[in-house]
């Protein structure tokens, strides 16, 4: 283990205002029966952090819900939600606080079940160390491997293996060493900086805060002693300087500062810096805080920087030292942990948050998913809740990052569902994909504007969506004929036709439907660029993909036309006999039968085909296009 001597002391050395050693954040993991919550309860109890009224409440609760007979059930101290207490399991991450004269601690108590992997990852994301519990009777289990893998993936460098319930194997040193051997055998591949193993009994307090005299064969530190002395603090300071700009501070015309927290490294007054995205350079003029200007700022410090030059800097930008810059790319590979009920679909647009920046992003391909129990790579098309996969990710514009293994602060991102705003995924960047950096867009002499001028009308995507048999293609055909008569340049992309060529390799799973629409969207965008009115007739059942296409072109260039025909009517028409076959179970994933259709929320045009002929409907669409000056 490496120890650090502080090089620079900017703060008082503890004493009355708290311990000198600073803060250690760690998580505990283990399944229900490993005694994880009992361990935390024991730590709090032995460090006198459980107070009298809390102890009274605990005794009362132990009688009601407890599982330890007449003894106090420490687990009830940490399982705070009603549902958890009733079911006797930990569902959500809970944070606990305790301190000793040497150090303060924040413990993330995380659930061990596989269905709560996301909650464990949440706890791990902010922790410097992990305590992994192993039941001495059971030894290394599948879940031990899972927990260790997740810790390693989330960048935890220090592992404490607590072999618990050692009292139930008669304090056997032989049993302990056997388990330790097993663990070290598989953990070697996981790249931890330190692994410490301790035999404990959380229930009776052996080797938790004090040395047990019931295991003379063990002469290492107690669990608490080890946590008190573990060195993690300085690691981020030694990385290159990164400063994600959080807020532009402009109290008056004379002051323009960039507020944020130093993600890593150290910056000094007078250092040469660069805005990672634009490549513009300047010099740090002042490091401003309410307590006066600083000569330097370190990882974790919340400060406000002013620069010597008028440089364009906004929230979301990353300021770095000019001599060690982060990568800036729009495509990279990343491990993604999926946290939403709705599966991750390659091609779908999500909102990414990386540092202080929000930016649209897509998973372009899922290379494999990881079986968290065996660490095997498995081919897959989607990621479900709690699944982890290695993905290629594309962002709408280049972003600054460092690989997660080098810098947890600048290599992590979350993905947000654009409709529900739920946090759907968490990502850890492994490396940038060079091809994005090296392909520069070819600038052309003839552009869209000149084509529009020649054509005499504006380009647009007319996107017809609706159930199979709703009349999309029939109406689109008539609309195209009318546009043609008016002298407009048109092209029709039809769902069925496209599937015979461009998208021949795609089926009808959710993932393939997303990719189908993505490709059609890109083709339609090229037609718009060519100055054409392109008519697209696709069931396109998901809002997210219709929105994705909408965002590919200008706001005035996309017309969502919802062909609103009730499913009963579509089934009655059934022009291709598809509904009949779907109902017999001969076609799987058929929209409206066993696959959902999400009704458009704000389509430009809604047409109801029940009371009107296709010709009438088409005429109304042409009028709408005229109103919006697509055609003259």
């Amino acid at each position: 283990m490496i120890t650090y001597a502080p090089k620079h002391v900017t703060v008082s050395s503890g004493g009355a205002d708290g311990p000198a050693k600073g803060l250690l954040r760690f998580l505990t993991c283990g399944s229900v029966d490993d005694g994880k919550s009992t361990l935390i309860g024991r730590l709090l109890y032995d460090t006198k952090l459980i107070l009298e009224d809390q102890l009274l409440a605990l005794e009362r609760d132990s009688r009601k819900h407890g599982t330890t007979g007449d003894d106090i059930d420490f687990a009830l101290l940490v399982d705070g939600l009603e549902a958890e207490r009733e079911q006797g399991i930990t569902i959500d991450v809970a944070y606990r606080f305790f301190s000793t004269p040497r150090r303060s601690f924040i413990v993330a108590d995380t659930p061990g079940h596989e269905q709560y992997t996301r909650n464990m990852a949440t706890g791990a994301s902010n922790s410097d160390a992990a305590v992994i519990l192993i039941d001495a009777r059971k030894g290394v289990l599948t879940q031990t491997r899972r927990h260790s893998y997740i810790c390693s993936l989330l960048g935890i460098r220090h592992i404490l293996v607590a072999v618990n319930k050692i009292d139930l194997v008669d304090f056997s040193g032989e049993r302990f060493h056997h388990i330790v051997g097993d663990y070290l055998g598989f953990a070697q591949s996981l790249d931890f900086a330190s692994i410490t193993t301790i035999p404990v009994s959380a229930r009776f307090g052996d080797n938790i805060t004090q040395h047990s005299d019931r295991m003379c064969w063990y002469d290492g530190p107690s669990l608490l002693e080890h946590l008190e002395t573990l060195d993690v603090e300085r690691a981020l300071e030694e990385k290159p300087f990164r400063f994600p700009v959080q807020w532009v501070n402009r109290p008056n015309l004379d002051f323009r500062g960039f507020s944020g927290t130093v993600a890593s490294g150290v910056i000094k007054e007078g250092d040469r810096v660069v805005v990672a995205g634009s490549g513009k350079e300047s010099t740090v003029a002042r490091i401003v805080t309410a307590d006066g200007d600083l000569s330097d700022a370190r990882a974790g410090d919340a400060v406000t920087l002013t620069l010597a030059d008028e440089v364009d800097v906004a929230r979301g930008d990353v300021i770095a030292r000019a001599d060690s810059r982060p990568e800036v790319v729009d495509q990279f590979a990343a491990h993604v942990l999926w946290m939403a009920e709705e599966a991750m679909l390659p091609g779908r647009s999500y909102l990414m948050r990386i540092g202080t920046k929000y930016i649209p992003a897509r998973i372009t391909s899922l290379k494999h998913k990881v079986d968290v129990n065996t660490l095997e790579h498995i081919a897959a098309k989607t990621l479900g809740l709690n699944e982890i996969g290695l993905c290629n990710v594309a962002t709408a514009a280049p972003v600054a990052f460092d690989p997660y293994t080098e810098n947890r602060e600048t290599g992590a991102f979350i993905l947000i569902d654009r409709f529900t705003n739920a946090t759907a995924g968490a990502g850890m960047i492994t490396f940038g994909l060079r091809r994005a950096t090296n392909i520069h867009r070819q600038s052309l002499l003839v552009d869209k504007a000149s084509r529009v001028e020649l054509n005499g009308h504006r380009p647009a995507i007319l996107w017809f969506t609706g159930l199979s048999g709703s009349g999309k293609s029939t109406i689109a055909n008539i609309v195209e004929r009318e546009l043609h008569v008016h002298g407009a340049h048109t092209y029709m992309l039809d769902g069925d036709n496209v599937r015979h060529g461009l998208n021949r390799d795609l089926g009808f799973t959710d993932a393939d439907r997303v990719e189908n629409i993505r490709r059609v969207g890109e083709v339609a965008k090229l037609f718009v660029d060519a100055g054409t009115v392109v008519l697209c007739s696709f069931i396109s059942p998901f809002r997210a993909e219709r929105r994705m296409v909408r965002e590919l072109v200008g706001a005035e260039e996309f017309f969502e036309i919802y062909v609103d025909t009730p499913i009963e009517e579509c089934m009655r028409r059934d022009p291709k006999g598809l509904y009949a076959r779907a109902k017999e179970g001969k076609i799987k994933n058929f929209t409206g039968i066993d696959s959902p259709y999400e009704v458009p929320e704000n389509p430009e045009i809604v047409v109801n085909t029940s009371g009107a002929t296709a010709e009438e409907v088409a005429r109304r669409i042409i009028e709408a296009l005229r109103e919006r000056r697509i055609i003259g």
Partner: protein, 307 residues
């Protein structure tokens, strides 16, 4: 330009907490359309406001303070509130549930549960709606109570201010998800990772002013249900057999005066408070009558919109 906020050096541990909180407060200012900081006048609010002043220096915090006044606060608290607003030069909004007042809701006749529900929880929701705030800072800490230990720093509320503890957004790293739809709001807790001891040590290190009621002094109290209640005015009648006596007491936690129990103490300085705390064997909220109504009572109140 305003002058530098006075402060002494703080421990590495407090400095980390301070930076984390400042980061959270700035995040809200950067991402939300119309944020507000709940100011309850207590020691936690004092620290939170101090951190907000630091976060935006040399600018002022770009949001107002909101005090939900139940009309049963200690008079000392209101005086302190008005002094603080002047000292820091910030904007303060005060809201009272007028309908609750008209209905005659009060902690003595209506009982603590109904009073808290109407004059605090409902009042807060009304105030947030009236001014159309989309984010509200609260000074709650995870060490206070079990269900708070499970709450996120950015805690999502669906339309109607409902908290669903089973369906919270995962919160990884410091990548807070600040996205909400219209009508939804976020409660933000910058002091999530602070403990009561941290609050006092920081208050001392930074010379943050606190309500004098936190310090021991001779005060008129009655003993009711084994708790020492201070009669701050004559709206609280004595029950048969009760008599007022002067004892040297202080408060660990401040709320509505009939619902906040005092403790006997000799701590007249911040040093004294901290020493007493280190030796104490009861938690700060043990004097808050509303928490003891039932076992999971905080979780229930929080689901309904309480802070």
């Amino acid at each position: 330009m305003s002058t530098t906020i006075a402060s002494r050096s703080v421990s590495l541990h407090l400095k980390r907490l301070e930076s984390e909180s400042i980061g959270i407060i700035r995040e809200v200012a950067a991402e939300f359309r119309n944020p507000v900081m709940l100011y309850s006048i207590g020691k936690d609010s004092g620290v939170m406001l101090h951190l907000a002043m630091k976060a935006f220096y040399p600018s002022k915090p770009p949001f107002p303070l909101l005090h939900v006044d139940t009309r049963w606060k200690f008079r000392d608290m209101i005086r302190h509130r008005d002094r603080i607003v002047e000292r820091y030069g910030v904007k303060l909004l005060v809201y009272t549930n007028a309908e609750g007042v008209a209905r005659g809701i009060n902690p003595i006749a209506s009982g603590s549960q109904l009073h808290t529900q109407v004059m605090k929880t409902e009042a807060l929701k009304q105030a947030l709606d009236q001014w159309d705030f989309d984010a509200a800072f609260g000074g709650a800490r995870r060490d206070e109570e079990k269900s708070r230990a499970k709450e996120r720093v950015f805690s999502f509320r669906s339309a109607g201010h409902v908290w669903d503890p089973r369906n919270q957004r995962p919160e990884l790293w410091n990548l807070y998800n600040t996205r909400i739809a219209k009508g939804e709001t976020i409660r933000v807790f910058p002091l999530s990772n602070w403990t009561e001891l941290d609050i006092w040590q920081y208050t001392r290190a930074q010379d943050i002013p606190v309500v004098p009621l936190y310090f021991a002094a001779p005060r008129p109290v009655v003993t009711r249900d084994g708790l020492l209640i201070m009669r701050d005015d004559d709206r609280m009648p004595l029950l048969p057999g009760e008599k007022e006596e002067t004892r040297t007491v202080r408060f660990r936690s401040l709320g509505d005066y009939p619902l906040s129990a005092a403790i006997e103490s000799r701590a007249t300085t911040l040093d004294g408070i901290i020493d007493e705390m280190l030796a104490s064997r009861t938690s700060e909220r043990s004097g808050r009558l509303i928490d003891n109504d039932e076992a999971a009572s905080m979780e229930k109140k929080k689901r309904e919109g309480y802070f």
